[in-house]
């Protein structure tokens, strides 16, 4: 397995449902510690790192004599479940943490709590379904998690109220692609680690590995306030809906066509200057890129661009099939090109980039 895939594997297999990102934080800290000047964990659990720039403080009028502060963001958390009750036969009742798709839950394998207790979700067997029942998606409130506990007492000892559960999926290489859980947004985390590993940029680089994106961009909001950047980039793993469909609907993004640049989604409108910087860089260096279909999804950029008096922001993402499912798929070429595009675009960024015409 190539080195970059190893990092993605470690990040993907770590468990970090929103509010419980500790295991992912440990992988991130281990990976970036040697490559940054400062590292701290804030009140919510965000990992904030700083890598000093090489530029002399600028004389340009908008700089105020400061080096440019650029923020890079990727969220560490993933969607999952939380234990909210215990049945008399030892089953766990659960609710969603983040955007869980109930269509995907029957038949899945979970890891429950810090001990990673194996658990499964099954539904009424196909043989016992009433007429029409097989057409309906079982709802989360009607599902239970089975960890093999034999009584309510045993279940509540093994998985007390508030215990988190995540999908249990191994990372795999499938030809030129890789599969695993939580590529939204461990793909972004891996891109960000790669960017921190390289040479210093001219500007001061502030990176935030954030918590609680999936429950409302909570970590990014406080991270952006603390950093007070001049501009920000959210790094993501985004929707690639490029499977065959009846209607000729947009694939949102497609696998293998390079990093996806967001111009607008449900959470924000991207800063045109940053979009231009990215597309100009890609075109000049012949790095493939695509635009994400406008209007779909939301990212930490939704919080970043509203920090303090406002922050010009953009989202750049690795296209991933089957995000929010137990197993997603991405192309390592797209991953590589996302790192390349970001590195090249960042190396060109100056105060002038942010000047309004």
């Amino acid at each position: 397995m190539i080195l970059k895939a190893l990092l993605l594997k470690a990040l993907s297999e770590a468990v970090g449902v929103s509010g419980d990102e500790g295991s992912v934080r440990a992988v991130v800290i281990e990976a970036v510690r040697e490559h940054v000047d400062e590292l701290k964990v804030d009140a919510l659990g965000n990992v904030l790192v700083f890598k000093r720039g090489t530029d002399e403080p600028s004389a340009s009028p908008e700089s105020g004599g400061q080096r440019l502060r650029v923020m890079l963001d990727a969220h560490m958390d993933e969607i999952g479940l939380m234990v909210v009750g215990h049945d008399s036969d030892g089953f766990l009742r659960v609710r969603a943490v983040g955007g869980i798709d109930p269509r995907l839950l029957p038949g899945t394998l979970l890891q429950v709590g810090p001990e990673r207790i194996p658990g499964v979700i099954g539904v009424k067997p196909i043989h016992l379904l009433e007429e029409g029942e097989g057409q309906k998606v079982p709802q989360l409130k009607d599902l239970v998690v089975d960890i093999g506990a034999a009584s309510k007492d045993e279940a509540s000892k093994l998985a007390p109220l508030g215990t988190y559960a995540a999908f249990a999926t191994q990372f795999r290489e499938i030809g030129p692609t890789v599969s695993g859980k939580a590529f939204d947004d461990r793909a972004g985390c891996a891109v960000l680690v790669e960017l921190l590993k390289g040479d210093r940029f001219g500007f001061d680089l502030h990176a935030a590995f954030t918590v609680q994106e999936e429950v409302g961009l909570r970590g990014a909001r406080v991270a952006a306030y603390a950093i007070a950047p001049d501009c920000a980039f959210a790094l993501e793993g985004t929707i690639a809906d490029d499977i065959p469909k009846d209607k000729d609907a947009s694939p949102t993004t497609a696998l293998g066509k390079g990093p996806a640049i967001t111009v607008m989604d449900r959470s924000f409108i991207a800063d045109r200057r940053l979009v231009r910087l990215l597309t100009d860089t890609a075109r000049e260096l012949k790095i493939p890129y695509q635009f994400k279909q406008p209007g779909i999804g939301g990212t930490d950029a939704g919080a970043l661009h509203l920090a303090r008096q406002g922050v010009p922001s953009v989202t750049v993402a690795v296209p991933c099939r089957y995000i929010h499912s137990p197993v997603a798929l991405l192309s390592m070429d797209d991953f590589e090109n996302t790192v390349q595009l970001m590195r090249q675009a960042l190396s060109r960024i100056t105060w002038r980039t942010l000047r309004r015409n």
Binding site: D89, F91, G99, D101, P102, R103, L104, P106, G107, T108, L109, I117, P118, G119, V120, I121, G122, V123, K124, P125, I126, H127, L128, G134, Q135, K136, V137, D142, V144, D146, I147, G148, A149, A150, E154, A168, T169, I174, G175, P176, T177, S179, I239, D241, I243, P244, K245, D246, A249, G256, I296, G297, R321, Y322, I323, H324, S325, P326, V327, L329
Partner: protein
């Protein structure tokens, strides 16, 4: 023999109905030390003979000896490729595969080489409201092998099989969850029984049969029963385990013993004997009333040739035909013990006791 590692090996082996070779070859190795002869039925069932000693206690002299057939099916449900479209595979089911559990599932496509794959799913973010609560129909289900379209065309053809990829996991209380406990749980139980019978004298010839194509219509049981021509048969399969959403009447708790079927598919005197053996050996069992078609190999075996007195022992499993089929290992061990004790105690003239007028007299 340890039951959990055995269940793991058997559940993880592939063997979709009609294509049972991988699991059959595994089983051939497992059974080899315990049986006198082994052959393959014409549809692929594995038929093993452990010779009995007959009425006079000598395997050599009394020919023919009465024949008991044990039948547990080794096939599992799965998918088949029906088309290739833009590098994605269209699929149909083999056996009673439940499409409610397919989205986001890892699979193995048995093309020119085995290709790991994923059942494709559109993220909820892009789905129209009405589709978010709809079970995806077969014509919108695709398998993705993560390769460029041209390469997929080279490697995969219509008719290729697709297995569910799922490692068995151990839950608490010796419960395990895996993809093919239906019916590898009972294949394991038969294996345990053969192990326990090693060196034990029994009057009857025992034909242990791992049948094929049960999931596609009891095909292996029909043909293997004809080939073996047993005097008596016990089929072994799974029944419904209790969990929320399933009626108490349809299901049995895990870990409290196997179920013995009663109803038209089963000979009452054989049922009585199985219950009696369980009681003597302090093996807890449930009675499972089955008013008609048992949906198991027993249904086919009972009407083989001139008719065969048949019984059924079932292991309760939760979430049947889902990749998380869950059972209690102790129930599998109990079926193994029950079978071994039943066989060891089977008198050479047991058939006479099954005569109908005798049963009537006893009432």
């Amino acid at each position: 023999m340890e039951v959990i590692p055995l269940l793991k090996q058997l559940s993880e082996a592939n063997g979709i109905a009609g294509y049972e070779e991988p699991v059959r070859e595994l089983l051939r190795q497992k059974w080899q030390p315990f049986v006198d002869e082994m052959r393959e039925g014409k549809l692929g069932s594995l038929i093993a003979l452990k010779k009995g000693t007959g009425a006079d206690g000598s395997a050599a002299r009394q020919v023919p000896r009465p024949k008991l057939m044990l039948a547990a099916h080794m096939d599992e449900i799965g998918l088949m490729v029906t088309g290739v479209e833009k590098g994605f595979l269209r699929v149909a089911r083999v056996g009673g595969t439940d499409r409610r559990v397919l989205l986001g599932l890892e699979v193995v496509v048995h093309g020119r080489r085995d290709l790991p794959g994923i059942v494709a799913t559109r993220p909820p973010h892009v789905l129209p409201e009405e589709e978010r609560n709809e079970v995806v129909p077969w014509d919108k289900l695709f398998v993705d092998v993560g390769l460029p379209a041209e390469e997929v065309e080279q490697l995969v053809a219509v008719g290729d099989l697709i297995s569910i990829r799922r490692e068995m996991v151990e839950l608490k209380n010796r419960r395990v969850a895996g993809k093919a406990m239906d019916d590898r749980a009972c294949v394991a139980a038969v294996t345990l029984a053969l192990d326990q019978l090693a060196g034990v004298r029994h009057a009857w010839d025992v034909f242990a049969v791992a049948t094929v194509q049960e999931e596609s219509g009891l095909k292996g049981a029909i043909t293997a029963a004809y080939g073996v021509a047993p005097d008596l048969a016990v089929a072994l399969d799974v029944t419904f385990g209790k969990h929320p959403g399933v009626s108490e009447v349809d299901a049995f708790p895990l870990g409290e013993g196997p179920a013995i079927g009663v109803g038209p598919n089963f000979h009452p005197a054989l049922v009585a004997r199985l219950k009696e053996v369980a009681e003597i050996h302090e093996i807890p069992v449930h009675i499972e009333p089955i008013p008609g078609h048992s949906g198991t190999d027993a249904w086919a075996i009972q009407v083989s040739r001139e008719g065969v007195p048949t019984g059924l022992i079932s292991v309760p499993i939760r979430y049947m035909h889902q990749p998380v089929e869950t059972l209690a290992a102790q129930d599998v061990e109990r079926v193994g013990r029950l079978l071994a004790a039943f066989i060891a105690g089977l008198e050479a003239d047991f058939l006479d006791r099954l005569a109908w007028d005798t049963t009537v007299e006893g009432e």
